[in-house]
Symmetry: C2
Subunit: 640 residues, 2 copies
């Protein structure tokens, strides 16, 4: 242990960014016009042609000398002799003399001698003449040579991002190749003995490589081109070779992982051996074990191993460099202002980037912290972005305004946030809400977590099914858990029981048979687990022992499934002999079921959310005949 | 003329969109994980694995039985015998017995018998023992099997757009191929005898094809894949063949152009011959001559020829279909709320999509109409989006709130809007403003247009150099043009004169020699043109004639260049024998110059803009030593 190194010279996030500034540079390449979408123009474009390149009719009608039409009106139309016709694309060999006209199409070349066009709607023809019923002034319905863009004019400025309208201008001035900033090529390496490529089969101890794909998507989003260089084990020579080769070929090299103390030592000394370490770690949470170095005059960034940390540091440190190189505007991500839904504490002493979820409130966004462990990939889905808490900030109060940096431009925030117990009925609600144009985010944390989320004011609604010792569902917990300013809305009745493999090979007859059988449990605080514990406690008491002793005799009692379906899957896969869950899920999966009791699945709704359009829509759905029909199909019963 | 057809059965924009709904469908394809960025998930993803797949240490430290640490503190650490070490990726063959510990790295498999990890910071080692200085509870610093994502759990829902965070989850559950909605392939055809590909040389009457590239960029932006099928002439057989072939190969076929009365007849009858015409035109401005049809069960949309009309109808009618097919959210474009800067009238009787520019005001956006002819491509650059004016709306008042549909997601609005005369000094101001972080949009409409833009309240500032009959610059026009609530800020002095080809081959000595020479003029209302007309008027009077007669003897007097550079270019290219402009531009282009008089180039600033940060920065720049130095380099003189 003694040779392990702590990160001794942590720098601020700001200084970490500054360490990379020497590598901010831009290369230029020419691309075909039809491939320049979303690229950034690298040079000013001066038009080499006039647009249009000739005096052009801008209406269908007749090219005339304006003077010849003066005085014309509906009563006394002016007849002009038609001398011919000019179509768009024709090179006209015809001219307009006094008292004559030439039929002309939109976009066609104006004939010599004509200085205006009478719209076809203001004429009629009789024999060889056209009768003009409305006068025109010189230049009317004519676009002069260069009136749109003149030869020599600055048509587009360097630095412009090319969207449909800029590309239109490039086409109009005749460019078929466009000078744009080169997308930096970013070599992406994942390091770690535990990593495997998605699509392979894992052995114990292995996990799939996530960071390569997360970083690759981030590279694209910021204007770069990712190159996936695969997984490198924690072997000095392999790592050195991979990084040295990569810095020769790519503009930027990003690795991730191997930042646990032992492996990161290896990285430090390796980078030191072939290049220069610029930053030894950042005074920030998460992301402390970040390495910045250089080799072959190219920057090298070693990101932390946890995906959420890796993405955060990538966004803060690497993305601005990629954006500069590709000419994108400096501001990396959309920021939105929101109000904190709860009080947040920080230890202080280092900057904290706190992941938050966002929810649409009546006229503002509300932010709530995402508190899963930093190792959880799924927490990325619940978080929409993060807030920066400075070193000296210790508390952000409920209601304080915060600026949230979004993880992605494409994020849309839910209209309804449900945090609580999982139920198939919530999937139906989500679907029916979506048909009404509302988006729902539902986070499964069990009934107890649901009550807490309402108490804290985070969630709009929570699905709950908690049984009180007195045998009453849900309602007593509003008081016992101090959930104020909330309304309990009765939902429906589900049948809970034991889910067993088809044919019940272990011959389980009830909860009393669980000891010695491989069990799969549900999340702590979930209604299902609470029910299980109440029933097991009765059995334990009957046997003159305690709940703890009884549960220690049930292997797998500690394994927590977050959803009913996950329980069914574990049993289908042979990973467990039994689990507790609802009848519907057992039936859907063709599994055996021993009923234990009916339970009441209800919704706790935050009082201040009751007027939100999304909550009104939610309540309408709960009351609707369609919802009742669809939950009946699931085998649920309406509330008595 | 008699056989020409007017569009008789115009439908509303809403009905035009509805005509395409039968073609809204979605196909699914599988793509590799590293190519799914920004695609939309087509099927629910249920995890086939537990994440993590084993009980995992979430910190560097020692795996222990929690009980063995209870009671430990700084004074009385608990010694545990170290039984070995487990690295990330190891398959451990080791177990923790009472009073023992196993060293463990973040991400490594927990050994049998251990139920918690003591962080390395809370330990020290002595010989074969580790001394634990802080107790842990069961499960502390351990992530249990499936705690992140459990086998069978719904990891991602169909319909989710895949950004970095969703891709992280797909990788974590081990997917290497992802079912996404297929990007619809859109065949793009341009029609018209006048069209040529960019990169070719134009002959008289020809213009470059703009719409193919504008539409192609729009297809990408909305999630589709453009296929460029080239230019088809207005020939029945060619058009029929191209469209029939395209509808066999592509999901959607978009043509543009050939919508002038004669050509569109051809299109109608052609589409009728091989398919079905669904819509004969839309009751909207711009975009009336739009055709919607079907052939081979595929939709066919014929857009108008003018680029701004084509893009508008594409956005309204075609983009929603492409978005549906690729699974993108229905809302095609960002909408922003703005206040109209000026009163706008509409004829009524049909819906109008009015292009507007947007400008950042103190706490809101302000929208001003873009009034260039619909044939101008450059007008696309000045417009940021458009507002929808319904059939029955005749007036939108100044200050009314309007909803602006943006042309592109990537648009950013300028902080300072300058509308007026063009000057090289404005390019310097733009550059210096950009260094201060402010964006400037400058629209060149001449001095008179600048005064008008300030009077209407559209622009923040206008560069002007208008000479009064009394010989005073700019100031008298505030009164004579009724420009109220504005401030005149003195700028600098420029030298105006005749720009001539090098060596002055025509031997021009002054304005009196212009008759009979090919001239290039500036925009009506520009200060340069006003100065020219004042001087020419004196000459005409001296010769006993009128200005009009004199100018009729100067070929090219009607040709309007929008910038000084454009004048110089025309002379360099041999297109003109003389033009009026500033000395600086003549010198920069190596052209001859005959001075006429010094003129005062000043800025009119809208009074209500004076407190805008961007205007304050602009005023600072005008006063700065750097600006004075840089305009001196251009040959301008500071104001006396």
């Amino acid at each position: 242990m003694s040779e392990r190194k702590e990160f001794r010279t942590l720098v601020s996030l700001e200084d970490a960014k500054k360490a990379l500034i020497p590598f901010y540079k831009r290369d230029i390449e020419e691309v075909p016009l039809n491939e320049c979408y979303n690229r950034v123009l690298a040079r000013n474009v001066y038009s080499r042609v006039d647009v249009p390149g000739f005096d052009r009719a801008s209406m269908d009608g007749f090219a005339v000398k304006a003077k010849d039409t003066w005085g014309a009106d509906e009563e006394s139309p002016r007849p002009l002799r038609i001398k011919g016709i000019i179509h768009a694309g024709d090179k006209p060999d015809i001219s307009v003399e006094p008292s004559t006209a030439v039929e002309i199409a939109t976009g066609a070349v104006m004939p010599r001698g004509a200085n205006a066009v009478v719209m076809v709607e203001n004429t009629d023809t009789s024999g060889e003449d056209v009768n003009v019923r409305k006068p025109v002034s010189p230049g009317e319905n004519v676009m002069h040579t260069g009136a749109d863009i003149m030869m020599g004019e600055l048509a587009l400025r360097a630095g412009t991002r090319l969207t449909s309208r800029e590309i239109s201008v490039l086409a109009a001035v005749g460019l078929d190749r466009v000078a744009v900033y080169k997308k930096p090529r970013v070599g992406i390496i994942s390091t770690g003995n535990e990593l495997m490529m998605p699509g392979t089969i894992l052995e114990p101890g292995q996990i799939y490589d996530v960071n390569a794909y997360a970083v690759g998507a981030g590279v694209i989003e910021n204007g770069g081109e990712p190159v996936y260089l695969g997984i490198i084990r924690d072997v000095y020579e392999d790592f050195q070779k991979a990084v040295v080769e990569a810095t020769k070929k790519y503009d930027i090299v990003v690795t991730s992982g191997s930042t646990s103390a032992g492996a990161s030592d290896m990285m430090f000394s390796t980078v030191g051996s072939f290049g220069k370490v610029l930053v030894h770690g950042i005074k920030i949470k998460p992301g402390k074990p970040t390495i910045i170095g250089e080799a072959n005059d190219r920057p090298f960034i070693g990101l932390p191993g946890y995906p959420s940390s890796a993405i955060t540091i990538f966004n803060e440190v690497v993305a601005p460099m990629i954006r500069h190189m590709s000419g994108y505007p400096e501001k990396a991500r959309r920021e939105v202002t929101a109000r904190m839904a709860v009080r947040v504490r920080s230890e202080g002493g280092r900057e904290v980037l706190l992941p938050v979820g966002l929810i649409n409130e009546k006229d503002a966004l509300s932010a709530y912290p995402i508190e899963k462990g930093s190792g959880a990939v799924s927490s990325l889905l619940d978080a929409d972005g993060y807030i920066e808490i400075s070193e000296d900030t210790h508390v952000i109060d409920e209601g304080d305004k915060v600026s949230v940096k979004l993880f992605s431009e494409e994020i849309t925030f839910p209209d309804l946030l449900m945090i609580g117990s999982h139920c198939l009925g919530i999937d139906i609600i989500t679907e029916m809400m979506s048909e009404k144009g509302y988006t729902v985010r539902s986070i499964n944390v069990g009934s107890m977590g649901g009550f807490r989320a309402i108490r804290k004011g985070i969630a709009d609604a929570a699905g709950v099914h908690l049984l009180d010792e007195s045998g009453v569902y849900n309602e007593p917990f509003l008081r016992s858990l101090n959930v104020e300013d909330a309304v309990l809305i009765k939902g429906y009745v589900r049948e809970q029981g034991l889910i067993l493999p088809k044919g019940n090979p272990s011959g389980i007859k009830g909860l009393e048979d669980l000891p010695g059988k491989q069990f799969i449990n549900r999340t702590k605080g979930s209604g299902t687990r609470t029910l299980l514990d109440m029933e097991l406690k009765k059995i334990a008491e009957g046997r003159g022992t305690t709940l703890q002793v009884l549960t220690e005799s049930i292997p797998g009692y500690d394994v927590e499934a977050k959803t009913h379906n996950a329980v069914a899957s574990a049993i289908l896969m042979g990973k467990a002999d039994a689990g507790l869950g609802i009848k519907t899920v057992a039936e859907q999966n063709g599994l055996d079921f021993i009923p234990l009791r009916d339970e009441e699945y209800d919704f706790v709704v935050k009082a201040s959310s009751m007027n939100k359009p999304a909550v009104i829509a939610f309540m309408d759905i709960l009351r609707s005949a369609e919802f009742k029909k669809r939950i009946a199909e699931l085998g649920y019963k309406p509330q008595a």
